[in-house]
Symmetry: D2
Subunit: 154 residues, 4 copies
């Protein structure tokens, strides 16, 4: 199933190196020796988790169906426009962020607000709906950062 | 939007009195004077919350699309069979359960395990997919119970 | 630190076999071949997690200080009596319950309501304060059950 | 109890205007007409919630006891140094952040990382322990921001 998740992410415009780049940027100040390879392998480790795979598939399915008009209104409009009071995307992402404990929470919130790199591209996409995907990607990057912290400090 | 949510629930086989019945059963031991009317009005108050409305609409959309084969595999198979390791339904329900604080958590878990009343009917439905809906209904009943506790003890 | 946590649990009246007994009772219907040894080793695996260790130490510290009168009122009274609207114990337990994903949530809520075995003893203790500990133990048992499910179905 | 919470915050160096200042800074870009008075009254509304009051009292009690050496090691050392893998402070704050729904999550994470205003003072205090308090204050500011969003968009 991991391969399917990676393929789906790629179809929606997200390569694993894009996620790894966010992880590197986030963790560089704390771990100057962090290589791109370690960031990438950590992202891959996060994607090994069944819970993460399920959540990404659900989120991408919702984005895609909003985009194709398969969701009924008012939900379709809410998802398509990422209405400010819509919080289901954050809830889903929380299930990813927390797979290495709550220390991932801070990084998730920061990424979701500042939206560096691929997150900004997703958020500003002219035609595609990425209401769920940007939070999911932020969640994966935050979980990967938590995993790096665990491995270094443990 | 509240009316749409109530109509959607009804279309999927859940009337508000079914949810109120669970609330009454759950709270009767602690509040012997609890009337069916109060349980029902508390369920209605939970459904007033924007976050609850959004979450129910998302969950029902996912159930319906799994049922109609609009979700791709492997997600379609996972949702249709409510695979034991699938936890996205519980995550979504958590967003409802917690609207009156974490004291709703215990009741949610209990209802999700024991599955009284309408929850058992949903869970054993011969043809329809209710992977998300049974958790959402348990979440609404748990939140309503928390609201009753807040009103009585506050 | 794991040894310290196990010793602290024991000082507060909780042996690991007590937690393993709850896990066995909970999982027996689904995994008839589950031995007490596997339940116990799964509880030990849960206690390996840093986040679980920290949370247990914090909870026991709060119980102990309420018991010894080191907390100021109104907090001391709230913790000592496990006031119905107090939800901090459930929040802390959530950090344990979720270490193997949200599928632990249902079992946590069920255990926290039904309070089998050692949980009932803790909850009814005539002199000691176990407001946090009973939730923490339920959280460990729920996480262990989730781990068993992951190992069997994966 | 609200008065006790406000007094405790003040004793630990946090005035409500400090929290309101963070809320204003956070929300100004979205709501240019937001006055300091509205930010302050929103902070007061967050502090009306029983769950918020309980959580703040627990967190301040833990900080204070670490400071005074009443916590046993290893917990005392972990809390005093805010060890990077310690996540109990974030879990507690989550109970505050979510009182107006999960849309508060993003702001909490952002504040906890960037640490504007009073958060930086707390975090860098030369002698006092504020391991819990800085997260709690970030949680209150995030919840207040969510409340403002709800009132404006609803």
């Amino acid at each position: 199933m991991k391969d399917i998740v990676i393929r789906k992410l790629s179809e929606r415009g997200v390569e694993l190196v894009d996620i790894a780049a966010i992880v590197s940027e986030l963790q560089k100040p704390y771990h100057p020796g962090l290589t791109p390879e370690v960031s990438l392998s950590t992202v891959l480790a996060v994607l090994d988790k069944r819970e993460v795979q399920h959540t990404i598939l659900v989120g991408i399915a919702l984005d895609t169906m909003a985009e194709q008009g398969f969701l009924e209104d008012p939900l379709c409009a809410i998802v398509s426009e990422d209405e400010p009071l819509f919080g289901v995307d954050e809830i889903l992402a929380l299930g990813i962020t927390n797979v290495y404990g709550t220390i991932g929470l801070t990084n998730f919130g920061y990424l979701d607000k500042v939206k560096p790199g691929i997150l900004r591209l997703l958020n500003n996409h002219p035609t595609q709906v990425h209401t769920f995907l940007d939070d999911l990607v932020a969640g994966v990057a935050a979980a990967a950062s938590a995993r790096i912290a665990h491995n270094i400090f443990k």
